[in-house]
């Protein structure tokens, strides 16, 4: 996001002054990233920052502060925002230009105004808004943040190779034991609050009841600081009618929720894996807990209304009951494209009981559909959308234009290789029956060792999973290969812990900078594979150990595959290969970020040399993947690597010469325009 805005700023610099002076571009993120309040921003988690903010800015808190200014603390930044918004001169706080998150924070500190709410408000006036997918796809957030966007907006999903997964996640909920326990706690607290209100301010509850009888939508006229996560179901699926009578009273609603939680608790007790469709699940809720579908559908809205009535600000405490209500609303609303999977334990660790109820969405097109309908132009783009024809099928739309561009490179600065054999000519693969073979492990280790001695600065390795990485690094350690590697380069490892990984990355960069050289072990589908660039000397070589298939025994995946086959006629194998190859392409694509850069990519698995796998790699990799680089052994790869690195170290002409001209002069552009006119 920061990167996009920084590039945008560069672009603005090239525009004529008159044009760039009237453009406003800004990034939008959560309070966690934007808050400048000294106490609130100190909180560690996103939810706790949100809560801290609400405590200082909720409308009732401010009302109370108006009557009793000494005992209730307020956020000065928000107050000045509120004054400016009331006076209608927000724009004076934000002259046109490009604002990254850091700029917004600096602006907020300088002018003493809340950057989060300022950005939220300025989204209406901005020409370019950069934010995460969730703000548009996840109905819970989208209906609050992106409500103001007009139909004529152009929506660009950048790096959209994983867009189907984002869509699915937006509509999936999982409930664990802790969630249910937390929900019980929440319910107790809510009932206490209700009792308290009954004793002190019974009118509020009655007013709420009356409002519900009238069927008023309670959102829309809320102050901006009270807006909470919206309905998890898609906008057009939300019923526009009054809340059913039997959950209008707060006590009744609480009783319903209690029954629901108890029902779910009972289902979690199961010893077997269960897989149910929403219809059957709703029916069993109806018969066992006496809650019908309509009540389920309204759970979310009813809870939200209740929380506002009870003036509850610490929303992070209530995440659990919120999750339960999301779940209820989703199963009440949708009958197709979902399934409910109850697993008593994780497949991979059958000894540890960790029951979970997962409501998983299988149809990526559900969440993206409103976006297609709402906006006139939607662009989906990424470096690794391949095969490109699968995306329209997954997302269920008809592309107006679908185009795949080649890279215009001044020189052959990427060198993909498919390595199928070790130096002893035995095949290498992470196929399930081969991966623990000591020969394969040793060959992979030798490969890395040889490469570490021939490649300068940084090397990035991607493994198929954390458990595989742990296993193979352990074996290398026992074989002594790791020690040999450490003689050439330092080794850093990605862990599931974000802080630890960030630290490792920092040190990795430091080691590359000072010339010691380093290797980073990472996992496909991990955080590093998605978001971190290893450009220039930070990544001269990336090795993909194995094909990063999803865990194929996962129930959710199986259910999704079945759904895809039945609904979109996509074969299981095709989808799995597609998914694995886009991950692999994503991993290796980390290494090259500009034309002046260069890097090598090694796909180390014999399965990559098969045509069905290879052909699914994106075009810009395939076009550089020569036939001679397809079926290599370690020593051949080493030779190619040495040659390549020497060739790339030569000075080169940036403008390009002869056929591959990549830097166009003004004259060239005019010629091109003329050609186009003639055509």
């Amino acid at each position: 996001m920061e990167k996009t805005l920084a590039e945008l700023r560069l672009l603005f610099a090239h525009l004529p002054a008159a044009a760039s002076r009237s453009l406003l571009a800004l990034g939008l993120s959560s309070r966690k990233n934007l808050c400048v309040h000294p106490q609130a921003s100190a909180a560690a988690a996103r939810d706790s920052v949100d809560t801290a903010c609400r405590r200082l800015t909720a409308s009732w808190v401010r009302d109370r502060a108006a009557s009793d200014p000494d005992s209730t603390p307020l956020c000065d930044f928000f107050e000045s925002f509120d004054r400016a918004a009331a006076a209608g001169d927000l724009a004076s706080y934000m002259p046109p230009g490009v604002y990254t998150l850091a700029d917004l924070r600096a602006l907020g500190r300088d002018r003493g105004i809340c950057p989060y709410f300022l950005a939220r408000q300025m989204v209406k006036y901005a020409n370019v808004v950069v934010y995460s997918y969730q703000y548009l796809i996840d109905p819970k957030v989208a209906s609050i943040v992106s409500r103001e966007m007009q139909k004529e907006c152009v929506v660009v999903f950048d790096e959209a190779h994983n867009i189907d997964n984002v869509c699915i996640e937006a509509l999936s909920v999982s409930i664990r034991k802790q969630t249910l326990e937390g929900a019980e706690r929440n319910l107790r607290r809510i009932s206490q609050e209700i009792d308290r209100f009954k004793a002190t301010d019974a009118n509020r509850l009655r007013a709420e009841y009356n409002r519900l009888v009238d069927g008023l939508a309670q959102r829309g006229n809320l102050p901006i600081s009270d807006a909470w996560l919206a309905n998890p179901a898609l906008p057009e699926d939300i019923l526009k009618e009054a809340v059913p009578g039997n959950i209008r009273r707060a006590e009744h609603f609480l009783a319903v929720l209690r029954r629901l939680v108890r029902f779910l608790d009972g289902r979690l007790e199961t010893e077997n894996v269960e897989n149910e469709m929403p219809v059957a699940f709703v029916a069993s809720i109806h018969s066992q807990a006496g809650i019908d579908q309509k009540m389920l559908r309204f759970c979310y809205d009813r809870l939200h209304s209740l929380m506002l009535t009870l003036e509850i600000t610490d929303t992070d405490e209530f995440m659990h009951i919120q999750t339960i209500c999301d779940f209820a609303t989703l199963i009440g609303t949708y009958t197709r494209g979902f399934s409910i999977i109850i697993e008593p334990y994780d497949e991979r660790m059958p000894d540890i009981r960790d029951p979970v109820i997962q409501l998983s969405c299988h149809d990526a097109s559900l969440a993206i559909q409103p976006v297609f309908e709402r906006f006139q132009t939607v662009v989906i783009t990424s470096g690794t959308l391949s095969p490109i024809d699968l995306y329209p099928r997954l997302l269920n739309f008809n592309p107006v234009i679908s185009r795949s561009f080649t890279m215009s490179l001044t020189r052959d600065c990427i060198c993909p290789m498919v390595l199928t054999r070790g130096s002893d000519q035995l095949p290498v693969s992470t196929k399930f029956d081969m991966r623990s073979d000591p020969g394969v492990v040793r060959n992979y280790g030798r490969l890395l060792l040889e490469m570490a001695s021939a490649v300068p600065d940084g090397i990035v390795c991607f493994f198929v999973s954390y458990s595989y990485m742990d296993g193979i690094v352990n074996s290398w350690n026992e074989m002594g290969i790791l020690q040999d590697i450490m003689q050439h380069k330092l080794v850093f490892i990605e862990t599931p812990d974000v802080v630890e990984t960030t630290l490792a990355l920092d040190n990795y960069r430091k080691a590359c900078d000072c010339g010691r050289g380093a290797i980073f072990f990472s996992v496909a589908r991990g955080k590093v594979a998605e978001g971190i660039d290893f450009d220039r000397h930070y990544g001269r070589l990336v090795i993909m150990f194995g094909v990063p298939f999803q865990y194929t025994l996962s129930r959710i995946l199986l259910a999704r595959l079945e759904y895809l086959r039945e609904t979109f006629q996509i074969k299981e194998g095709d989808f799995l290969t597609f998914d694995a190859l886009r991950q692999a392409a994503q991993c290796v694509g980390r290494v090259i970020r500009s034309k002046a850069d260069y890097g090598m990519m090694i796909f180390a698995d014999k399965r990559y040399s098969r045509h069905d796998k290879r052909s699914k790699l994106p075009g810009w990799i395939l076009s550089h993947l020569h036939d001679a680089h397809l079926n290599l052994s370690t020593d051949m790869a080493l030779h190619i690597a040495r040659e390549f690195l020497r060739r790339m170290a030569q000075p080169y002409d940036k403008t390009g010469s002869g056929g591959n001209k990549t830097l166009l002069t003004e004259e060239d552009l005019q010629n091109m325009a003329q050609d186009a006119m003639e055509m």
Binding site: D457, C514, G517
Partner: protein, 433 residues
Amino acid sequence: MYGVGGGGGGFNAPYTASARRRNHEDDEEEEEEEESGEGRVLEAWERAYADDRSWEALQEDESGLLRPIDTKTLVHAQYRRRLLLRSAASAAARIQKGLIRYLYIVIDLSRAASEMDYRPSRMAVVAKYAEVFIREFFDQNPLSHVGIVTMKDGISHRLTEIGGSPESQIKALMGKLECSGESSLQNALELVHGYLDQVPSYGHKEVLFLYSALNTCDPGDIMETIAKCKKSKIRCSVIGLAAEIFICKYLCEETGGSYTVALDESHFKELLLEHAPPPPAIAEYAAANLIKMGFPQRGAEDLISICSCHKKIKSGAEGYICPRCKVNVCELPTECRTCGLTLVSSPHLARSYHHLFPVQPFDEVSSVHPNRLGQKGGQKCYGCQQSFINPDSQSSLHVRCPKCNQHFCLDCDIYIHESLHNCPGCESQRSSS
């Protein structure tokens, strides 16, 4: 270069042998040339596979046939590029050049230097061309000084003191060729910085790394050391043998040196020899000041004295007498041990002179239709009087001096620019007029 050229010829032989009968006439000339040329060359299949990479002298043409590379034009093209590059750098005619250079050659003898991708090993190749370089360096920079530092086992060690004689340097280098351990850029920089800091201000301080390793194992923060070198105006250049390393690139950019990576042995030699001509002096580095120099005379035949360098009795004819303190020194240029006067001979100064006034690069002319000129034989090279028309009637590329409009062949072009440093055409014009 020999290996490449020889390989090409060697490959041709079997081809012509098999095709002899079919196109007899065409090949006649070629055959004759080969058989009569410089004795008996080993055939391709007779030579050892390992030390002769005959395949590297081949290239594919459009139809996929193998052709030997035309090495002569290739070599010349490379030379032209280099020449133009150099003259472009000094295009503004009067560029100040650092003629008095203090250069440390840092040779990497870490584990990586024993790799065999250069034959027989990186270390041997480096040593071989370091010798060539040192000779060439003193040839071009008679007023300069060289010292050698080696890196191994994580530490660096000064092999020879900085001095003005090529022989002692080469001798010391050849005796110390074994490699082990890691290399440390920082240690080497610190060491060299310590020595070069004492150099007089008119001298140009330079370090040239011949770097085999792909990493550096440093005891501290190398960035500080680089900043220190930058502050003391030490120009650091690196020639890598394997691949581009970020820290080396950074070092060179910071200190104003050049960073290059060798493709193969011949390219390495080329890159190394590029460091022989003096680099343009950077304005802030070059404070213009006068240097006191002595021009000692060769001692008289009958004079016997003790030389100050070796403490040996020598007859005067073997040494020079310092004009200020009359002490005997063995070789020039040097600094007098007794009074510290810089001692040079006038030919040394004269030889440095051409760097300031280089011969202009010649324009390339390709006469496409030599026969149109009328008489057979056509034009002749002004330098060697040979006809431009090649016997194998390939491209007859030649060059022309932009000043005197005389034409020269490619060999003479190289000779004039690399060794003679005077254009015969211009010189003879001057003398005649």
